[in-house]
């Protein structure tokens, strides 16, 4: 008899969640209300009493911290997807990262802010795998999050950007999928908030998200399923 569930979702996963939510509502009659923000903002809000039921973070750190702080149900902490990093390039995707850094650049290259966005961190880790003496032949510009980073690319202000695979998978741009051993896995975790007003509906949504059908379709959105790795 819980008619709704309040879902707080990190921006990069907003599109898939909206899609899944529709199906979920059809199936269960529970109306998901979706709040999109950056993981950091959502974390701060939950800390200060935001009325969310489920928190889908872009990382593993923040949900774990919420659990550690006693603000989330420990036993509901689950990873729901694993992100993949892609290098999108207007002049054609390079074959490898090494090939990329041997190019010539007249515009900066965009990455997400490593301090704020897991994809940014992943990107800098990936660049860090290059031989130590490789001086990067481009300037970096940082977007606040992965979406802003992608906007630098789409608006034409940069010609190359490290973004989430999910963003470019369905586009016409050519990209290089960065091998997932170039960076720590981008594990995205979710958790149910302790004071949740709809714990039952929240659980059902969680289960739905972890169902095999949904997990299998994650690939279409540019994610790997949670279980892999």
């Amino acid at each position: 008899d819980e008619q709704q569930v309040n879902i707080a979702v990190a921006a990069n996963f907003a599109q898939p969640v909206k899609h899944f939510a529709e199906a979920f509502e059809k199936k269960t009659g529970i109306k998901p209300i979706i709040t999109v923000s950056s993981s950091g903002t959502l974390y701060a809000q939950i800390q200060h009493g935001a009325p969310f039921d489920v928190f889908l973070s872009a990382d593993a750190l923040r949900p774990e911290k919420l659990v550690a702080e006693g603000l989330a149900e420990k036993q509901t902490l689950r990873s729901y997807a694993t992100g993949r990093l892609a290098l999108v390039s207007r002049s054609g995707a390079p074959d490898s990262l090494n090939a990329f850094v041997s190019r010539k650049f007249d515009k900066p290259v965009a990455i997400a802010n490593p301090k704020l966005a897991p994809y940014g961190l992943a990107a800098s880790q990936a660049l860090g795998t290059l031989p130590a003496d490789t001086a990067l032949p481009f300037r970096q510009v940082q977007g606040k999050n992965i979406l802003q980073t992608y906007q630098y690319f789409t608006s034409g202000n940069v010609d190359d950007a490290f973004v989430a695979w999910s963003l470019v998978k369905r586009s016409n741009y050519s990209y290089l999928l960065i091998p997932d051993d170039y960076h720590a896995p981008i594990v995205q975790k979710m958790v149910i908030i302790k004071d949740s007003a709809h714990p039952y509906a929240a659980r059902r949504f969680m289960q739905y998200l972890l169902s095999a059908k949904v997990q299998k379709s994650l690939m279409d959105w540019g994610y790997q399923s949670a279980g892999k790795r």
Binding site: I33, V36, Q45, P51, Y150
Partner: protein
């Protein structure tokens, strides 16, 4: 689209509440400041302008801390109203008030300083009450400044974003205002929707402002030539 319409409605409500409340707060404050002959005046003026120098999100973060039921202010509010301050419409209004206060206070302050006090003296000898003097003399003479204060605070509340996002929580139908919806469309690369919404917002605001400034016409403006 329903959520966009909700957002439009909420934004209008918020901007209206905020700008009207702001005028009610800012007018007496600016008046007192303009008539106050104390050194501390500059400090008060500086304090009024301070919310501006914090990035909206950061200001919003601190407000969130203050509004939280664990903090005194948030607890008091919850005691009195029975509701949580953060993530409520009231919280949005308070946040917007604080953030937009300088835009209302400062133009009024400057205008009140420029006002010739002797008009008020005349009104006083004519037996006008404080309120009549304000409504029939001060307000019309300083009308341009009132329009500016109202226009700036309305527009700023419509466009404001960081504070509202932080303390509002972007809850559709409750605290998701237009600026956030627009932001989301852009972030989600729904550019078509974003352009439509931005265009609509611009046109609407333009009309509203044009209407507002029209009232300025027969102000104290005629050109003595």
């Amino acid at each position: 689209m329903q959520s966009d319409i909700d957002a439009i409605w909420l934004t209008l409500k918020l901007a209206l509440f905020t700008s009207v409340l702001l005028m009610l707060i800012a007018t007496p404050l600016a008046w007192k400041l303009s008539r106050w002959q104390h050194k501390a005046k500059n400090l008060v003026l500086a304090v009024v302008a301070l919310p501006l120098v914090l990035p909206p999100t950061v200001l919003g973060f601190y407000l969130l801390v203050v509004f939280s039921p664990n903090a005194v202010a948030g607890e008091l509010w919850q005691l009195i109203t029975g509701e949580q301050l953060a993530f409520s419409f009231a919280g949005l209004v308070i946040g917007s008030l604080i953030y937009s206060l300088p835009f209302a206070v400062q133009p009024l302050y400057a205008s009140f300083l420029q006002l010739d006090n002797r008009y008020i003296d005349v009104a006083r000898t004519m037996g006008m009450s404080k309120w009549s003097r304000f409504r029939r003399i001060i307000m019309p003479i300083c009308k341009p400044a009132f329009m500016v204060a109202l226009g700036l605070s309305f527009a700023h509340t419509v466009g404001e974003f960081g504070v509202v996002l932080m303390i509002g929580g972007n809850i559709p139908g409750e605290t998701q205002v237009l600026s956030i919806a627009l932001f989301e469309h852009v972030e989600a690369m729904e550019y078509g929707k974003a352009h439509a919404l931005a265009f609509g917002l611009l046109v609407f605001s333009f009309l509203l402002m044009a209407l507002l400034y029209r009232y300025n016409r027969n102000g104290v403006t005629a050109w003595k030539s």
